[in-house]
């Protein structure tokens, strides 16, 4: 397997890890909580899309749009109802709360859709491109994966940097008390942050379900949370750019490791990567320094 192929493959999967990492970073920045239920939330939205597409014959795009909308709703509801009460309290409360939510979502999904592995269609053809005689480890579907995540990243960037609602959201995340003094409805901004994050996660869920086998069951997305978390930590939990870079780097690293070491043990690689990063540079590649000064 040539390095180019490995890199291409890595970028495709890395984009998905980047999307999950981005979702985690958005939530961390606004509410200082690691959303351990992220994998569960995107699992549910993907299953909702699955119901429409595989059981009711809707086309792929309807499924995707519904998944994104479902993500917005789930994110908003979870923040407002479950997370808001523990937002100021000890971090351990939020950890246990999000874990409880994960269990609930997995159990609930198992009740509704069963625990078997289902299949989800890809967006486009999965036949690899050919350049001359060479086959690239890249298909139209992979291209769609990379492009859709890139589009989302750009849209989020524009939202946060160029709109007044984005300004309000950033102010709410950086200095909630000052923002309130300036008339920003901080609570609503936090809810919006979670809603957007869940929608980004929903995209990642649909993408990976159609791209990799064995994901489509209630427990299948657990690993994705770890990949996203590791990517976010690599980039710096505070940094959206870091999340994207971290995800891409991880995707490429996995591609090489899968090729030269072994397949099937990606979660072990994630564990090793995470440990190394936390030992060597815990604040990540792109984080700003710890304290905020005023």
């Amino acid at each position: 397997m040539t390095p180019i192929n490995l890199i291409l493959n890595g970028i495709a999967f890395g984009s998905i890890y980047a999307a999950v990492a981005l979702a985690l970073v958005l939530i961390w920045r606004s509410t200082r909580i690691v959303n351990f239920a992220q994998g569960g939330m995107l699992m549910v939205t993907t299953f909702i899309a699955y119901t429409l597409v595989q059981e009711h014959g809707q086309n792929y795009w309807v499924g995707l749009v519904v998944a994104l909308l479902a993500g917005l709703v789930i994110g908003a509801v979870v923040e407002r109802v479950l997370v808001r009460p523990v937002e100021g309290a000890s971090p351990l409360n939020a950890v246990i709360l999000t874990l409880g939510l994960l269990l609930l979502l997995q159990g609930g999904a198992g009740m509704i859709w069963g625990n078997g592995v289902a299949s989800y269609p890809p967006a486009f053809s999965t036949i690899f491109y050919r350049v001359g005689h060479q086959e690239l480890l890249f298909s139209p579907n992979y291209l769609f994966v990379v492009v859709s995540v890139a589009v989302v990243v750009v849209l989020l960037y524009l939202l946060f940097q160029r709109t007044s609602i984005g300004l309000r959201m950033r102010a709410s995340a950086f200095s909630p008390e000052v923002a309130r003094l300036l008339g920003v409805r901080v609570g609503r901004m936090l809810t919006l942050g979670w809603a957007l994050a869940a929608a980004v996660g929903a995209l990642a869920g649909v993408l990976i379900a159609g791209t990799a086998p064995n994901y489509m069951n209630p427990n299948g997305f657990d690993a994705l949370l770890i990949y996203g978390f590791t990517a976010a930590v690599i980039g710096g939990l505070d940094s959206p750019i870091g999340a994207v870079v971290g995800g891409l780097l991880m995707g490429i690293a996995f591609a090489f490791l899968n090729n030269y070491v072994s397949v099937q043990i990606d979660t072990f690689y994630a564990l090793v990567l995470l440990t190394v990063v936390l030992m060597v540079r815990p604040s990540g590649l792109f984080s700003r320094t710890a304290t905020r000064r005023v």
Partner: protein, 345 residues
């Protein structure tokens, strides 16, 4: 290691241990096979939850990854038995039960070692970072047998069979397993209770409550935290070893992520604060699948719903617990293990 322990406390613990052990021994003779195997289950889970409550409740470090330590303990035991390492160590094929002790001890020591390594890595981490790395542990370690290089020795997907030594003749097999597990649980709880009351236990509490004060008072925060990991990992290792013997085989599928969640849920509900709570929690998560099956049957619910009912119940209960308890985790901690009385300076 326990340090200075009041003689009356030690005596009281010994008394409880002896009485508890005797009571359990009698109990195993009263119960039938099914109940005895449940008892064995509860007992080895209690070893793990007791260790976890020391780590999370007493020492304040959350771990969602103890399933990984159980995995390591179970596979260590399985490998020892597979290669007859115990016999070779003892250098005579004498009493098979000594062999059993060696096997379990191996599981404990290997896990203690790994726990130390993890503890060193984790000592610098706080809150969600610590939770995240232990979560990665829970998912990342049990896939190791799938590594192509390790598939041979570790049995890949199918796992390894466990050839537990036969019990002394005329003893019912399941009763024997229940008895070993109960004995182990009693010993673990006895040791941990002593630990908790000792100088080491006070050090754990001090670091949990206020790291800065603790280090100003001369405690090495990192060393204390690593020690807590070592102790709790050792307990989980013992639990894994016992599991291997009771289950008769070990494989990656026996150690899913939900196992680690169940352990954490057990101590949250048992009361993050005490060893007794760890036991209640062990009872809870062991019997919950049975209870929910009964509920499901009486309501004629489908297989799907039945299988997932424990998950839904636990998840909902954890959420409700965090929302309803105003002081959440801190409140549970204070009620259980208590805080260290601050000395006036």
């Amino acid at each position: 290691m326990p340090g200075v322990l009041g003689r009356s406390t030690l005596l009281r613990h010994v008394l409880f241990a002896v009485i508890g052990g005797a009571a359990l021994f009698l109990l195993t003779h009263e119960l039938g096979e099914f109940r005895n195997s449940q008892l064995a289950n509860i007992a080895y889970i209690a070893c793990a939850t007791a260790g976890l409550t020391v780590l999370t409740g007493l020492s304040g470090q959350v771990s969602i990854g103890h399933g990984a330590f159980m995995f390591i303990g179970a596979y260590t035991a399985a490998l020892f038995l597979k290669h007859d390492l115990a016999e070779r160590l003892l250098q005579h094929s004498g009493n098979a039960n000594f062999g059993l002790i060696i096997v379990l001890l191996a599981a404990v020591l290997v896990c203690a070692l790994v726990g130390g390594v993890v503890g060193v890595a984790a000592a610098r981490l706080r809150g969600p970072y610590l939770a995240g790395i232990t979560l990665a542990l829970a998912i990342g370690i049990p896939v190791l047998p799938l590594w192509s290089k390790l598939e041979g020795p570790l049995g890949g997907h199918a796992g390894l069979p466990v050839n537990a030594p036969a019990p002394p003749t005329s003893v019912d097999y399941v009763r024997f397993q229940a008895w070993i597990c109960c004995l182990s649980a009693v010993i673990v709880i006895f040791l941990l209770a002593n630990l908790s009351r000792s100088r080491v236990g006070r050090a754990f509490r001090a670091v949990r409550d206020d790291e800065i004060s603790a280090s100003l008072a001369g405690l090495s925060v990192a060393r204390v935290q690593v020690l807590a990991f070592v102790v709790s990992a050792a307990c989980a290792g013992l639990s894994g070893g016992l599991f291997a013997i009771v289950a008769g085989s070990v494989g990656p599928a026996s150690f899913p992520l939900s196992l680690s969640f169940y352990l954490l849920a057990a101590i949250v509900f048992g009361g993050l604060g005490s060893l007794a709570g760890a036991v209640y929690g062990a009872v809870l998560i062991t019997l919950l699948p049975n209870w929910s099956t009964d509920i499901a049957n009486s309501l004629s619910l489908s297989m799907r719903v039945q299988n997932n009912l424990p998950l839904v119940i636990l998840g909902a209960a954890l959420i409700v617990a965090m929302l309803v308890f105003p002081s959440g985790v801190q409140g549970l901690l204070r009620r259980g293990w208590g805080t260290v009385a601050r000395r006036a300076t």
